[in-house]
Symmetry: C2
Subunit: 249 residues, 2 copies
Amino acid sequence: MSKAAKRKRSPTSRASAKRETSGKGARTLNRDTIIAAALAEIDLVGLDNFSLRNLAKALGVFPTAVSWYVAGRSQLLAEVAHKVLEDIIPPGFHDSWQGYLREFLQRFRQAIRAHPNVAPLIGTQLVANPAVDLDFVERLLAALAHAGLSGVNLVSAYNAVIAAAVGFTTQEFAPVPAEGTSAWQAEIRTRLQNVSSTRYPQLAKNMKLLGNKAFTLRWQNGTDAPLDSSFTSFVDIFISGLEQFAGRE
Amino acid sequence: MSKAAKRKRSPTSRASAKRETSGKGARTLNRDTIIAAALAEIDLVGLDNFSLRNLAKALGVFPTAVSWYVAGRSQLLAEVAHKVLEDIIPPGFHDSWQGYLREFLQRFRQAIRAHPNVAPLIGTQLVANPAVDLDFVERLLAALAHAGLSGVNLVSAYNAVIAAAVGFTTQEFAPVPAEGTSAWQAEIRTRLQNVSSTRYPQLAKNMKLLGNKAFTLRWQNGTDAPLDSSFTSFVDIFISGLEQFAGRE
DNA sequence: ACCTGAACACCGTTCAAGT
DNA sequence: ACCTGAACACCGTTCAAGT
């Protein structure tokens, strides 16, 4: 229904058939180069300031050259998100299933930590990627099957793992408002410090532990103030919950 | 550094001092009206097609009239996200702490289910809201304190709850690519159906249970294909994990 | 096949002007 | 205080043209 629906027979379909680094000119532009450059650009200027035109400028080509390889902005962003997550599959299944999940969750976090500016894309783009890495899904399912899960419970547990990975990490590295940064940084701080201990006893009691360390009470994101111990606890909580869930079978 | 940084003495600061529905003209425009209209517009056309100019048109004013009340696009979106989540605090603390958390997570999901188009904003905008609802945080902390948690573990558990809520729900209702919808819908289906049972045994075995029901293997989002039972299991897993975590103290 | 080049319809934001 | 109105610098995408 939208304007994107009326696209037709775009030449974007399949581009990287052969490579031909053989003789003369040596094609400089290709799909992977563009995606890599897009990621670098996003790392540099942030998601809000990223544009296809600036990307083209960085690549030294016309804006329309990019769209010969990539169907549009949103598809490019999907590819970028995919690239960031390309190495999250733990190598082998040496350990226990708990160890496998633990390593997966840590790898997921590290992947986003390395490119925090793409964090907002992760939750959005992981919906249904046509280029889903089936190996990734298979291995995760295998680990959960090792835990004794099968059928609908296996599927539920799989969804739970993805939800857990996405939830903590996208939150932790979500961009901080660019506006009057130091202005509301101070506002949150003082607001927390002056909180009424009769009306908000728990907040008052744990004020120092909460400041800049609890979601919605932070003034920096995971890049500047990582939540390492919270993440470790989160993984512990989640995995021990899965153990119980699997044991119930 | 960015262009937003050079804003100065904008008249946007404080707008709704008095209301004056008294006599003659009856101010038609105000902050709440704008936020409500923005949410309605996003519900209607989606986040990608939402623009301040169309919003202004819907309100019957000039684009620049809107920015007298709202500092900019991103701030408006933050307010919209905040509005969607305004009723997620469970009313009383009647039940057990487990019951409280369960209700909170369900309310969170229902809130986003009612406005799925804002789902991508939730993870992003919940970072550090200057207008954080302290009552919300206090009640959540109180529930977790009831579980026997305190100190750093209390903070970790709080973060875990937020992460869990955000993770599942934003995923479940994340927008589906608008491109050649039915094209890749079919692609995912057939790809899943033709999966090699030797290379991907778990995928092959659970093919029917996974199709359109597992993250990254869906071709619809939660609006068309809700993941009710997966969500229930997720909540079970998480809460029983929290029980263990609290018992370890 | 791959890229240039111009053009289109749109966008958020600024700045001056009205009342 | 609140809104109009014009203008600015930018954006993604389309379409024709080159090689």
